[in-house]
């Protein structure tokens, strides 16, 4: 994240919308489909993972599959990846022509090659695959994406952070009036980073934005753990994020299973979120063993004991994130 650097945000991206499409872990249950989350900022939508059945989950969401700009794959386990071939085919059968990018860890290109050629079908739009290394940073439209290592056994696994551009600094109305800058178009110019002139004749002088506009403020940021045991790298990537979406496959009772298979407990995820000082925490990749409310409650309780307000979204939940 380009802290301290001025990224004006003239289009005013102030909201990020998160659609939880699949919040279950490992295999689908009646209650939860496997992993996928649609994140929209302005007119840009990216999918975080794309498990089998994601295209059908999208039908019950406000997200048009045709508008998905990119898919960020955390790792190549089936419950995070197997929805891609069908989604691509349906997009193509519905005459999509906009290109799409698919990002993932080492192995993604081979998996895509197999997945997109196993059926006798050629998409009629361009798909670009990209293999990432932890630490890579890239842009999708106005969004800056960075990725880090996730601790999911020996399999190359990534966590992601999506940053909206920094927002302009706070406009100091009192200071502007004190400088005799009348409310009107010149305020907008200053807020957009443009110098203005005030006064006339010998009193004319230039006002630069920093005289009335505070330092740029962070845009909304979202970190997604993918599948992982709690680890320093994910904590670092998530530091200070507006939203952390972290896996929480198990409750305390299955702490050893979680550790053995490179997964997190809800409590472990919440502790990481607290250390990383994120503002909001959503827990996903819930094991199919937690179907009933009474089965799920301990997991939620254990998270909220550590991180107040931690939430376990259901498939279909839509969250608008604002500053």
């Amino acid at each position: 994240m380009a802290r301290g650097k001025l990224h004006l945000n003239p289009s005013g991206y102030r909201n990020m919308r998160i659609c939880f499409l699949g919040t279950g872990g490992s295999w689908p249950s009646k209650r939860r489909n496997v992993s996928s989350i649609a994140v929209s900022s302005g007119s840009t939508t990216v999918l975080l993972d794309c498990g089998e059945g994601t295209q059908r989950q999208l039908l019950s969401s406000p997200v048009s599959p045709m508008k998905i700009r990119a898919i960020l794959v955390s790792h190549l386990h089936g419950d995070h990846f197997l929805g891609i071939p069908g989604l691509v085919q349906t997009m193509s059968l519905n005459d999509r022509d906009a290109p799409m990018d698919i990002y993932g860890p080492a192995g993604t290109l081979e998996a895509l090659e197999k997945g997109l050629t196993m059926c006798p079908f050629s998409p009629n739009f361009n798909i670009s695959g990209h293999e990432l290394e932890p630490g890579d940073t890239f842009s999708i439209d106005h969004l800056t994406i960075s990725c880090g290592r996730a601790a999911h056994g020996s399999l190359p696994s990534l966590s992601y952070r999506i940053n909206e551009p920094d927002r302009p600094g706070r406009f100091n109305r009192e200071k502007a009036l004190e400088l005799n800058i009348p409310e009107g178009p010149k305020w907008g110019m200053l807020q957009r980073g443009e110098d203005i002139t005030i006064g006339s004749g010998p009193d004319v002088r230039t006002v630069v934005p920093r005289e009335v506009v505070g330092p740029p403020r962070d845009g909304i940021s979202l970190a997604y753990s993918g599948d992982t045991a709690p680890c320093d790298e994910v904590e670092e990537l998530a530091r200070g994020a507006t939203v952390l979406i972290h896996e929480a496959t198990f409750a305390d009772s299955h702490q050893e299973v979680a550790a053995a298979f490179g997964h997190s407990t809800a409590r472990g995820a919440a502790a990481l979120a607290k250390r990383a000082k994120v503002s909001r925490l959503f827990l996903v990749h819930i094991s199919p063993r937690y179907q009933k409310e009474e089965e799920l409650k301990p997991l939620i309780d254990q998270a909220t004991e550590v991180f107040e307000g931690a939430m376990v979204p259901e498939d279909g939940n839509v969250i608008e994130v604002t500053h």
Copy 2:
């Protein structure tokens, strides 16, 4: 079908259960998932096609994914095939060890190879792939399966027929009593095809089954069209079947589209069913364009005008077929 040949059916398979898992065509809709039908006879279950999301549809059915003995793939379009990798992975993660067979047209082995290796995952049970040619006949447990060509453009496409073994002939109680064979174990022996002796001393004589048991009667049979325009080969394969499950992607209004893409209208499917003299007709692969009741009604009406009792099942419908 081995007409006229005696296949005793000591286990008494008299019911076939059909679970409609996905009754939609081409891509999923809210109302219908893509193609899959589970057919159970005795303890044997086979899937007819396995579109994306079939493993989740199974969760709302009485069929355990772990009990699926084989998958019969009609053709390699994604909406009939893309559910296989995820289903296999979930079976394996749930410790399945029973082998499974997957049958399909030319190209199936390569598609399976790609589909089952695109994720870093090796199933812990044995999967055997089989490529079929139209006209092939093979057995799965007590079932005899035959396949024929379907007319779905240039893509190798199969229709299937599943035959339960012939049932024993009708037992003639009156004739048995007339021959002085007392009701009891000897009736059972005769019905099972065994000779018995009656009388004693010089009057002892052998009774052979055909003296009291009628000719064997056909077992239940089910034909499945896969994707196809109405064609002679499917009609021939379906001839006299107890059940025909035929695709009916479109209503009359889209007859030209149906013909252009190797699909059937409901009316066309019903006319074929009538010519083939099947007992019951179910129409599947319904286009996503028919979501509302008023959109679907013309399609149903057009079928029932031609074939009384033709049904358009919904996902989750279960039909018990009895003689």
